[in-house]
């Protein structure tokens, strides 16, 4: 028995209708939910920046942000200045945190001047300079925020990823890894930018030596770790000229 659903005409019509229905359903959902999603992402950025400078609700070994409903107020309270560095030009902007690092990196590739946002925060009398970084892990993008003092010594770090392997590369957003960066120096005493390498050599497992420019890597996450080293070296190096002006 030949079924009506076997004919070519029916198949074509079915395919077209299916694509139209599914396509418009998804397009409708995506555009109607977009404001919510964008708002969530905006708050998350504020939470990330605050986290890096130590404004968080960490307990035990878990990493916790300040809650979403107070993030905006806390951001206003702790972040004193938002700076945009554009070549030699330094300006202030209330929306510097909305600068899309990914877009700026692409701009830089096209030969345009990259806008570098830097957030100056104050907590307990101490000044923090929080810089965003972005790079590639094993599967997808990784990014983070690093809080520095005037001498480019790391005061706090937050890392995140889009799709690293759970239990391995995804552990870059675990406390034990992020906290290892605290106190690490980025610059040598002579003022040369060294960066921080996520190293496999286990010379300093307890991370007591803060001037070795190394932190302990995560077992089984070599490529993600290399990505973290690379984004720290590449993106933070661009802020060196600004930090040199602070010392004058």
């Amino acid at each position: 028995m030949s079924k009506r659903t076997d004919s070519n005409g029916y198949t074509m019509i079915f395919a077209v209708i299916m694509v139209l229905v599914v396509g418009s359903l998804l397009a409708f959902l995506a555009s109607s939910l977009k404001p919510n999603i964008d708002e969530n992402k905006r708050i998350e950025k504020q939470q990330n920046i605050l986290y890096a400078m130590g404004v968080n609700e960490n307990e035990g070994t878990s990493a916790n942000f300040v809650s979403t409903n107070v993030a905006g107020d806390m951001f206003q309270e702790y972040i004193k200045k938002q700076i945009v560095i554009e070549g030699n030009k330094i300006s202030e902007s209330q929306d510097a945190y909305l600068i899309d690092v990914k877009k700026q990196q692409a701009n830089a590739k096209d030969g345009k001047v990259r806008k570098l946002p830097l957030f100056v925060g104050k907590k307990d009398g101490k000044t923090f300079y929080v810089a965003p970084i972005r790079g590639k892990g094993l599967w997808d993008a990784i990014w983070g925020y690093v809080a520095l003092d005037e001498n480019m010594i790391v005061q706090g770090a937050y890392f995140d990823h889009k799709g690293e392997t759970p239990g391995l590369g995804a552990n870059i957003k675990q406390r034990y890894f992020m906290d290892d960066f605290i106190g690490e120096h980025l610059m040598s005493d002579t003022g040369v930018f060294k960066g921080i390498t996520v190293a496999k050599g286990n010379n300093d497992p307890k991370n007591e030596d803060k001037t070795d420019y190394e932190v302990d890597a995560i077992a089984g996450a070599t490529i993600t770790g290399d990505g973290v080293s690379a984004m720290i070296k590449k993106d933070l190096a661009m802020y060196v000229p600004y930090f040199k002006t602070l010392k004058k």
């Binding site: 939910l33 799709g163 690293e164 239990g167 307890k206 077992a219 089984g220």
Partner: protein, 217 residues
């Protein structure tokens, strides 16, 4: 079982043991290897697959009489992909934290062979209610194995369960619990090959308990 007839109940219980999608049909191995390094990821994946498979089976079952057989695989793929994207969007808008935990698995759910396998083998030929039960049953069967593998890999590989240290503190100088007696985590457990070995051991145990599962040569 007042709610389910005996035949319907079998749809749920069969995939749990003697027709388990992973250990008997050897489907869905890719995700079972990739994400079982920690228990939490296993649980999240199990729940996600249950949702997509249960709902997807119903959708396919409702459409079974109008799907042109020539393009049925593509139609199935579109249904899975659509469901997964809808779930992802809704989570991103209303449960952002959870969506970040899940994001890794979204792609894996679409390509999970169990889902396509059940669409093709069951939902195309059965009614929505039975298809729903079949979907839930298979997802639970899949989830149980995932959780068992995740449990052993996280416990032996990292010494933690759901992120909580259960075997003591492994940091040199602050040793406590088992580590104080010289116990060491087995880092190899965190790598994918060990998932295969754990699944292999589960298959071995299952077949030695139920010899009717062993194929004759």
């Amino acid at each position: 079982m007042g709610l389910l007839s005996k035949k319907d109940a079998k749809l749920i219980t069969d995939p749990l043991a003697d027709n388990n999608p992973i250990t008997i049909q050897v489907l869905g191995i890719c995700s079972a290897l990739a994400i079982t390094a920690e228990l939490k990821a296993s649980i999240v994946m199990a729940i996600s697959v249950m949702f997509v498979l249960g709902l997807g089976n119903v959708v396919i079952s409702l459409m079974r009489n109008i799907i042109p057989s020539k393009i049925r695989i593509i139609v199935q793929l579109i249904v899975v992909a659509t469901l997964v994207i809808i779930v992802d969007l809704v989570l991103k808008a209303f449960a952002y934290e959870l969506s970040k935990t899940l994001s890794v698995f979204v792609g894996l759910i679409i390509t999970n062979c169990i889902i396509m396998g059940r669409f093709e083998a069951f939902a195309l030929g059965n009614g929505p209610w039975r298809s729903f039960l079949d979907g839930i049953g298979n997802a639970v069967g899949y989830g149980v194995i995932l959780i068992i593998v995740g449990f052993f890999r996280e416990l032996l590989g990292a010494g933690t369960l759901l992120g909580y240290p259960v075997l003591g503190n492994p940091i040199p100088g602050e040793l406590s619990g088992l580590y104080a007696y010289g116990y060491e985590n087995n880092g190899f457990m965190l790598l994918s090959p060990m998932a295969l070995i754990v699944v292999g051991i589960l298959i071995w145990i299952q077949r030695s308990r139920n010899t009717s599962l062993i194929e004759e040569n």
